[in-house]
Structure formats: C-alpha cells, structure tokens
C-alpha cells in the first residue's frame, strides 16, 4: 500500500505503477463529468464532432459541484463525488476513445470499466462520499466551465486541484478491484447472519417483487 503524488495530465507509466489499495494525491487539472455531460460527450463522439476540451491523459471526476461567481470568476463552494456505478459504460468508452487516465468517484464501477482500465492503462480512484467541504478546500481555482446550459451540477468544470485526496486506488490497471474482496467478506458474514437468525436465504419471503 504505497502512497503517490501525481500531476494531471497523467502519463500511462505512472498509472501502471499504481496498485489497488494504494493512496494517491492528485494535483493539476481535473474535469468534472456527470450524467448529462457524458451524454453530450458520447453523442459528439458518435457524430465525429469536436469537444471544447480535451480528455487525453486527463483525470475526470464524477462530481457535480456547488459553485458561485465572485468578481466575474467562478469559485468552488462544495465539491464532492457522486455515485460512479451508473457511469460504468460511458466511462469505459471515454477511456477507450478519448484517453482518460483516471476516473475519480465513489462506490463501485462494473467489470466493463475494470477491463478498460487494464487495456488502456487507467485507474479508478475512490473518494469519501459527501465530504464536499473538505475537497473544496483542495481546489484553489476553477480554470474554466463548459456547457453551463446543462445546469450547475451537470456542466463540465475544469478544476485546478492541489493534493486532491487522499484517494484510494479501488480498481487498478492490472485487473485488481478492492471491492471483490470486500464483497466476498460481506457475503460470508451474511451467511452467518442468516444462520443466526434462522433465515433461509433461498426462501422467497416476498409476494412482490
């Protein structure tokens, strides 16, 4: 469980060095990408249109920030992660087609993402959910915002971050996923719990669904 300081944009060799359970701090440029931004990026990709920003070698963050304007400049107020599992498909495509090197978020990502991380050299870095006041203090500047017409939470915010973290490498580029082990431990516990409570896990207690 090593600790790394990374500067984004990222290089493949430094991503390949990371192993599941490592701790990383990221400095440099991070772009927020969430539901409607994914939709727009992928539709641009499908119709071979350009984007107003590049994702090559970038770190993207599943976050919908609260921001405010002060003296004509955008300032971060609270910025934290949204649940990443719903982006498994689209994130995998961004890694494959657009060269994204790091995905920052919370919770699981699916096997399709793990495959993309392995194949193209990327990682999934896990944050603590909901701690948006804490992470906002690691964002000295908002460099730009794109697609504000999607609304504040869905726009693409280009952040300059300083030692964003600690982030835990939850899925690495070598096929390792920390959640596999955590889940099998919980499944073992559940077996014991059901036995103690005299619950038959195969029995259908429900009428609906």
């Amino acid at each position: 469980m090593a600790e790394y300081e990374l500067n984004a944009p990222l290089r493949e060799e430094e991503i390949r060095r990371l192993r599941a359970k490592d701790t990383v701090y990221v400095s440099g440029e991070v772009l927020t990408v969430r539901d409607m931004a994914y939709e727009r990026i992928l539709s641009a990709l499908d119709s071979h249109e350009g984007l107003p920003f590049s994702l090559q070698d970038k770190a993207i963050w599943h976050a919908g920030p609260i921001t405010k304007q002060e003296g004509g400049k955008w300032k971060p107020v609270s910025v934290g992660s949204t649940t990443s599992s719903r982006f498994t498909g689209p994130a995998s495509r961004l890694i494959e087609k657009m060269g994204v090197k790091m995905v920052i978020g919370k919770g699981f990502m699916g096997p399709q993402a793990l495959e993309a991380f392995q194949k193209y050299g990327a990682v999934y870095a896990h944050t603590t959910g909901g701690t948006a006041a804490y992470y906002a203090s690691q964002i000295p500047e908002i460099q730009a915002v794109h697609w504000l017409d999607l609304g504040m939470p869905a726009a693409v915010w280009v952040l300059r971050v300083k030692r964003l973290g600690p982030l835990i490498v939850a899925m690495d580029s070598h096929g390792k996923n920390i959640f596999d082990e955590l889940q099998s431990r919980v499944d073992d516990s559940l077996k014991r719990i059901f036995t103690d409570l005299k619950i038959d896990p195969q029995h259908k207690y429900l009428w609906w669904p």
Binding site: M36, G107, F108, G130, L182, I193
Partner: protein, 296 residues
Amino acid sequence: MISKEKLTDVIVDLLKRASIRLPRSVKEELQNALRREEEEVTRHQLETILENISIAEDRDIPVCQDTGVPIFFVKVGRNWSAIREAAAAITEGTVKATKAIPLRENVIHPLTKENSGTNTGWRMPFIYYEMTPEDFSEIQVLLKGFGSEAKTSLAYIPTSEDVIKGTLKFVLDCVRKGFGEPCPPYILGVGMGGTSDIAALLAKKAFLRLPLGKKNPDPAAADLEEKLLKAVNATGIGAMGMGGKTTALAVHVELCGTHSAAVPVVVAIQCWADRQAAVRIHSNGTFEFLEERKNG
C-alpha cells in the same frame, strides 16, 4: 402573527441550517463509529467525514455538494393564520436560499431535464401538510441527496410468511445491494404497513426521528429496530463500503395498520450527511429553531 416576509427569511435560515450543520446526535454517532473502528482505511473515511463536518461549519458552506431536493413537512397548528402564506414563503425562501447559501441547482423537469436554476418548479419544493391540535406550528425540511435516495426499495410480504424474518431478509438484501454507494454509515428508515405510498412516507419520517437511535414506542417495532441494527452492522460493509464495524448509525422503524393479506415494506436510506432542520412557530409569531426535536 408572522408576516410572509419574515416567514420567507425563516425558510432561508432553515435551509441554511439544514445544508451546513448536521444534527448533534448524528455527529455523536459518527464519533462513536470512529471510536469503534479498527480497519485503518475505514477509520480514515470516518476521520475525513468528521473533518468535513467541521470545515462546513467553520466556513458556512454545504456539508455535501448534493444539497438534494427540498422536501418540507408542515404541521399546521390551531389558528395559524400564516398558513395562507406558507406555501409561497417556502417557495420564495427556497429560491433565495439557493442563491444565498448557495445550494446546488438540482431541480429539473423529469422529462425535458430543463433545470429551473432555483430548486423550485414542477411541484418543488414538495410540501406535506399535517394538522395538529397544538398551539404552535412547525416547518421541517429534509434536503434529500440522491446517492442514498436512489436506493429506496419496496416489497410486499404476505402474512402467510414470518413478517419479521421477511423484513430482515429484505432489508439485508437491500443493504448488500447498495453496499458503499448510499454513503454509509447511514440511517435506515423502514416503513411498514398502510399502502405503498404510506410505507414510503413512513420510511422517510423514520429517518427524520431524532435523537438518532431513539426507540419506537411500540415494543414489537423497537425489537425489530434492534435486530435490524445488529444484523446490518454485522455485515461488515462499514463506512463508504470500505469494510468495518458501522454500516448503519441507526435503524428506525415506523408502522401503520395494514391489510390482512400483506405488509408493504419500504426501505429508505439517509446517508451520513443527514440534512434536516425544523422550526417551531408560535401563534404569537415568535419562532424557535429546534435542535433535537421530538418525532411526530
């Protein structure tokens, strides 16, 4: 009597309190969770959560970026003349608070995805009204984030089954499926009985109960609360699903009489960032914000 302008200001203040400061018993339970925890990675999740709570309070900024959708629970006391202005004041207060705090502009049209930019529109903020014979009225707000909201589940357990075992199994299945996604350590609300809509409302009301861990006065419900809390924490999911001793800070069950055929059960989850606040308004127009109020 309280004027509409004053009531609007009270709503802004209410939303500010809810989005920035967590209830005392929630913070205490998070500290207890840290005290119990042995896994290093998980301890770190809890430390970050507690540090985040302090930063939010010190800097007067929302504790989580997902300031949710605003749901209001209004208890209308006897002779509350301001009831005529209440809905307008709640809406206007939400618009103002969205700019002033600021809250994230979350509310969209469910089909066109148009964002009003004010957290209002298309029936939002949603208001539940309840009559009370008391001399005072109360307005409570819940800012419901969607990481936990999108894990709500409904099931019907036929009365031919062991309802307690069925509920335990259903809740544990929901907890396993959600794993770390609804931001544990969380508060589980279980609504049982009535019809699906009643069970869903009761599940939300259940996690609004403060102080955290206060037992349901019905002994059967209190017994189930205890069984559920023990079982959920025995899963070892832990803070943010990183493995550990505390998955739920509390489990609250609320009951309603139901049909002899089946019991509707709704499991609702409130993430650790339990954003709620309440204000009591007296008939003479004075008001007080309630810190750890009684449930009801």
